[in-house]
Subunit: 558 residues, 2 copies
């Protein structure tokens, strides 16, 4: 053996170490460094064991040698076993010239198939900041020069450290990037149910958790109500209540603190009732509060108050355990999505308020004419059903819902004496009655947002042959919305019961509508109504009063 | 000199290199490695020059030597100058035993103050993947052993690489974390103006840009309209229009692509009109499209369509130039905030629709009673002014705005003959008229969202002494909202002109209200109204008709 402490020998080795270190892939780096270590000692084979500190086990991370030895990759050995365990515990190199005589040699791991039994082993720990993170063994080295391999070993330790730091940072990056995308996705919905389901599904995905549950505070009682749980078979869990302050989730919501429980059996706060009800075994929990920001509606600036609206739990991490990194990520996620929920709640409230007030007012207007109870609501429903068949945009449909309800709003300006007259109207009275579309237009003229849907009010008494009122428009001069509401209006008038006559059978009314195509009605609108009816999307007043739907309508509308 | 190729000499040096490498702080690491290199050569002093590839300059990054030499830190030298420049260009080590005789020696940099002139220099490049990233020089080395210092140099190169990778990754992390926080902050507003200003301010902050501008597509003309520009003195820029497809911003909005222009003078697409108008000199631009997701309102799931609503520009990076990293970050930011803008637009539309429809309908109801034109609107305004003085929550105030407008909604059910009667009402007619609060309650009873504000309708004719109607409630049995609207209602009745009489002077009416405290009115509500009036938050019908406000009211409401 030549003298290794010669520049001819050393420089190439150290140069190669430098080159290997420029690989940023940790696996490649360790693989090549092991080759270098084995070559430097002129060994037969070698293994790098990484320490799994949580399990107190050493994992076969790189195995160099014959084909069989590769089978060991990924296997584990307790830190109490073998020469490798001794190296780790003693934190210093060991040279065992005759393995067969060493009682620490752990034979089981190689098994009967491992034909080539080594004679000697050079075993040394990789220390990082004086703590062992791995062990390297070289078998049957011709030149067991400890100092030099230890030098390479220390280099490996430092490279492992850096590669792991970089990998951790890059993983954090990927998770943050995913978080941003996910929050953006959730933030594009204003539907509370959708949002709740997305929150829980994405939380599990982000944290690699087996299941999740989301509780919202019931503002009246303070109880926590389970709103969504995913990956749990028992569906009847939804609506389960946890009294305020009870359980881990109660603690989290009350204190505003994150709780990480690695083993629920060890935590007295765990409220096992839910597990008992669901049959789901909760082993570990990461629970965070849902802190929503106060939403700024008008000019109030700089408001950054937060309030806790509930809590989110990720259950049973699928690989490893929940850590501080997971906790921070879930906190960020929970806070952002809580605000999204608040926004959706505000929007839903405002939408419901709009719809509620308009429904209430048009009901009151309908009530002035004793024969038209519920008429405005039904005309709105039928108009929407027709519009949906005709593939009209969501935003127009939302406005049409309101405009349809308001189609007879002008009746507010028709004198009671005309509106409430029981018998037929004379010519003068009829002229008063026919003013209602234009009165309606005047009333609603200031509502900018509704301008496109105004024909629901102004044109629902026009006829495609030009004989309608107030303007006598014909064909496509009548806007689509006007033609839709005209069909919906007549359909309701003919199918509904009146004090002086029964509503007609639906099939008979469809015959009348079809007969009116080209004179009174637009063909597309009539056909769309019939098609919507056949698909169960429309129910007449009589069908509704007959009790439980015999069509699909109710489930579809739900 | 002893033989360095001995284990006694080498091992400690290489061990120290390992130890130094475990430092993750790049500056510390380079500082300590320079010490090690100088010691290894037994030199007097040394310098590490980092290459600034963009400027083609070498920067004095670590300077070891006497006190004076520290003054060189941060100085720059062109890669065409000095022995250091030659080392870099030739990519190989140089040994200059007599500096004084070498024409390449660049004397200027040391200046007249630098007393200690070195005699010799060992100069070598740090190569990363065969590209030079820095140069190290050791002055007056007793032992200019090139091979060994080059070995240490290569180690430094690899460590610099890893430290920079980690620093870049960590910086990306910090920026992403900031992005998440910022998006959450912006996402908690539903006020479009606020959102636009936050978008542009945060974009500049995130990218370290001097200024920014945000354009939105005008849906009718397709023009791009400048909505916000920050850090530009000329305010009249707002509203500037860029024709569709023109300029860099036009290209970005049309193509949906990000554009990065390092020097606007070199890019023909730059639309310099805006610069000319503003007097702002745009040197570099990063422009991204604002892609909003289609917002999910109801059951439509899996909808992930995007549409471009405008474009965002960051102008003049303050240090360095915009890079791909900046571009990706700004893209993510722009897409998320575009969706926030869409949500705010939808909310604002729905709010406006609600307010518009209710105003229109109550105007129509007011119109049935010829004496009360504009009454409902003013009662709503006065009620809000009182509520704001009393520090009532934003959400209640929003609902009170609607409920105040609706306070007389029950008049819809009062016969025309009573409502429109010109003279005084007889007892029977008065009884009909007094039914309007309960009729109003019945009409609005189905509107769940408005239940808390219902007393605006049911209790506005109650009196604190119990002599009011319909229920004869007294004192605090009348809800606060009822007491507020009662004051607002009477205040409007007394200050407004009627066909048969002039409205009274405001001061006189306040006297009447104050006199009614304890019998008719609640003291807090009367005082709140007076205080709001004094602060210019209230304008009576007469004051409004007198033309341009002579109080602060208009600006404050804006």
């Amino acid at each position: 053996m030549e003298n290794i402490w010669s520049s001819e020998y050393l420089i190439p080795i150290l140069e190669r170490a430098n080159q290997i270190a420029s690989t940023s892939q940790l696996d490649d780096l360790l693989d090549q460094m092991m080759d270098l270590v084995i070559e430097t000692c002129q060994g037969d084979a070698g293994t790098l064991y990484m320490l799994d500190r949580q399990a107190n086990e050493l994992v076969f991370n790189v195995v160099k040698g014959d084909e069989n030895s590769r089978l060991l990759l990924g296997k584990r050995i307790s830190v109490t076993q073998g020469i490798v365990g001794a190296t780790l515990r003693e934190r210093k190199p060991l040279w065992v010239p005759d393995i067969a005589k060493d009682p620490r040699w752990f034979r089981d791991i190689n098994g009967p198939d491992h034909k080539h039994q080594p004679h000697s082993v050079l075993s040394f720990p990789l220390l990082l900041h004086n703590e062992p993170i791995a062990v390297v063994q070289v078998f049957d080295p011709a030149f067991p020069e400890l100092q030099l391999v230890q030098l390479l070993g220390n280099r490996m330790a430092s490279e492992i450290d850096k590669a792991m730091l970089l990998a951790a940072s890059q993983q954090r990056n990927e998770r943050l990037q995913a978080l941003v995308e996910i929050i953006g996705y959730i933030g594009s919905s204003l539907n509370q149910d959708d949002i709740l389901h997305m929150i829980i599904d994405f939380a599990c995905q982000l944290l690699n958790a087996e299941a999740g549950s989301l509780f919202l505070v019931d503002e009246e009682t303070g109880d926590l109500v389970l709103h969504v749980a995913n990956n749990v078979t028992e569906r009847n869990l939804l609506g389960v209540r946890v009294p305020a302050g009870k359980g881990i989730i109660g603690y989290v919501v009350r204190s505003g603190e994150t709780v990480l429980v690695a083993d629920t059996r060890q935590d007295a706060r765990h409220y096992s009732q839910v597990d008992q009800d669901s049959g789901f075994e909760t082993r570990s929990i990461l629970a965070v509060p849902l802190k929503a920001r106060t939403v700024v509606l008008g000019g109030e600036q700089g408001v950054t108050q937060e309030h806790i609206i509930g809590g989110l739990e990720a259950l049973n991490k699928l690989e490893g355990t929940f850590d501080q990194e997971d906790a921070r990520l879930l906190e960020t996620f929970a806070n952002q999505t809580a605000t999204v929920l608040e926004i959706a709640r505000l929007y839903t409230n405002t939408s419901e308020l709009l719809l509620g007030v308009v429904k209430a007012l048009t009901t009151a207007i309908d009530a002035k004419d004793p024969y038209t109870e519920g008429h405005s609501q039904r005309v709105s429903d039928y108009s929407l059903a027709i519009a949906r068949e005709l593939d009209i945009s969501t935003e127009t449909i939302n406005h049409l819902r309101i405009a349809g309800l308001l189609h007879d709003v002008g009746k507010i300006g028709v004198p009671d004496i005309v509106l409430k007259k029981p018998g037929h109207l004379d010519a003068e009275e009829m002229a008063e009655m026919k003013k209602h579309p234009m009165i309606g237009e005047k009333i609603m003229s200031s509502v900018r947002t509704l301008q496109n849907e105004m024909p629901a009010i102004t044109e629902h008494h026009e006829r495609v042959d030009g004989t309608g009122y107030p303007k006598g428009l014909s064909g496509e001069d009548i806007s689509l919305i006007g033609r839709i509401v005209a069909v919906a209006d007549v359909f309701d008038a003919l199918t509904s019961d009146r004090p002086y006559r029964q509503g007609q059978a639906t099939e008979q009314v469809f015959q009348d509508l079809l007969a009116g195509i080209g004179t009174h009605f637009d063909a597309n609108c009539v056909n769309a109504l019939i098609s919507a009816y056949q698909r169960g999307m429309v129910q007449t007043q009589k069908e509704r009063e007959r009790g439980p739907a015999h069509t699909q309508a109710q489930t579809q509308h739900h």
